[in-house]
Amino acid sequence: MNPEGVARLFALDKMNEGPFPEHYEPFESPLDTNPLHAKVVSNPAARIFKDDRDSFGTAKEFPYVATTYRLTEHFHFWTKHTRTAAVLQPEQFVEIGEDLAREKGIRQGDKIVVRSKRGMIKAKALVTKRITALTVAGKAVHTVGIPIHWGFEGLTRPGYLANTLTPFVGDGNVQTPEFKAFLVDIERA
């Protein structure tokens, strides 16, 4: 609260989809709509090449939300050639919640296949309590966590490149790729 008794809201006019922050669904969304405004579902300022649009999957075909992230043991992909890091995280894995694991008959340490419309990877399943199903617009949405650091040569056991799964989207301002939200399907390998 300010001395004049009201709040202030600042925004620069430098954002392409600005001036104010807005919620847009990712281009691959588990929902067919944007719950806040159905007319504009995804970011209209995002950069997408025409042909890449065809490589987006639908929730019907790929029902689970995936996200990619790094692990504390790693630094980008540089540490692929560090033996200590290879000992600490020896093999590629994918994290799924207990509900999804039960639904799919996947047990701790099983080899699973993760597919998006663009590609597939195989990895060990790490079934965790930390990822729970979210209820989004009345619908249960499961999340698949995909740590990156595998693919190419390295000292760990061979793995797949997580970015074979990710979509080709550049955000509206700095072209950051949309690697944190996309759709996949999983099954036991």
Partner: protein, 303 residues
Amino acid sequence: MALQSLDIKARSASTFAPPSARTTLEVAKLIDVSRCIGCKACQAACMEWNDLRDAVGVNEGSYTNPPDLSDQTWTLMRFYEEQIQGSLQWLILKDGCLHCAEPGCLKACPAPGAIVQHSNGIVDFHEESCIGCGYCISGCPFNIPRLRKEDSKVYKCTLCSDRVAVGLEPACIKACPTQALSFGSKETMLAQAEHRLTDLHERGFTKAAVYDPQGVGGTHVVYVLPHGDRPEAYGLPKDPSIGPLLAVWRSWVSRSLGVFTMFAVLVAGVFHYMKVGPLEEPRDEPRDGPGDGQGRPPRDASS
């Protein structure tokens, strides 16, 4: 590892008095679990300093890698997902030797000088004297020492006794990015732990406690556990102690029993000799069969 013969307080399978002219500060490592982010920097630092490289294993569906302590893994981050008071807690424990004040391993060890306790509290294995019997493994209430198959020697965390001896902190402490690990005199560490407890209690961790189990005389690796009422949720024994069998193993009882048995056998032997006399071998009798009829053993026809 580092041999500081003046600072050895106790030595396995030895009875002579330790040198006592020099006094050293009692040290401790404080592991504040509430600050740990599970990055495994301590584990990497341990591998680097001690030149240990465990095998690149497999992921069995866990963040705990390698899956267990080994002769190449002296400290290990263990990850547990526990429901505590209705909420999910990701408990991360830096596992490794606790350097007990009354070490079960040292008490169990039958090899003179293979396990020593320094006056600063560090319990160290001298592998060159180790006979690979594995008694220390059964003697340890925390399941820490690991036998290496290739050389039949037992290995565990040394609390970087080689670094501490020259005034450095252990390698894991140096690597920790969140100050979850600290090192200093036991007194300071306990004071710091108390300070952390006050903070944790204020933040709603009303069961937070210091883990410095008195069943083993206190330890020189002390934990601050946010859920201190349930150390077993972290994989730590609730009330560790060295077993009663181990207590008699190197005590006057077992020694006296041993000496008594030796004398009893000697005395029994003397009486047996007096009563029964020496054992008489029967003379070889001439045998039937293909001998020469004069008691000589059978030979080949050619000889």
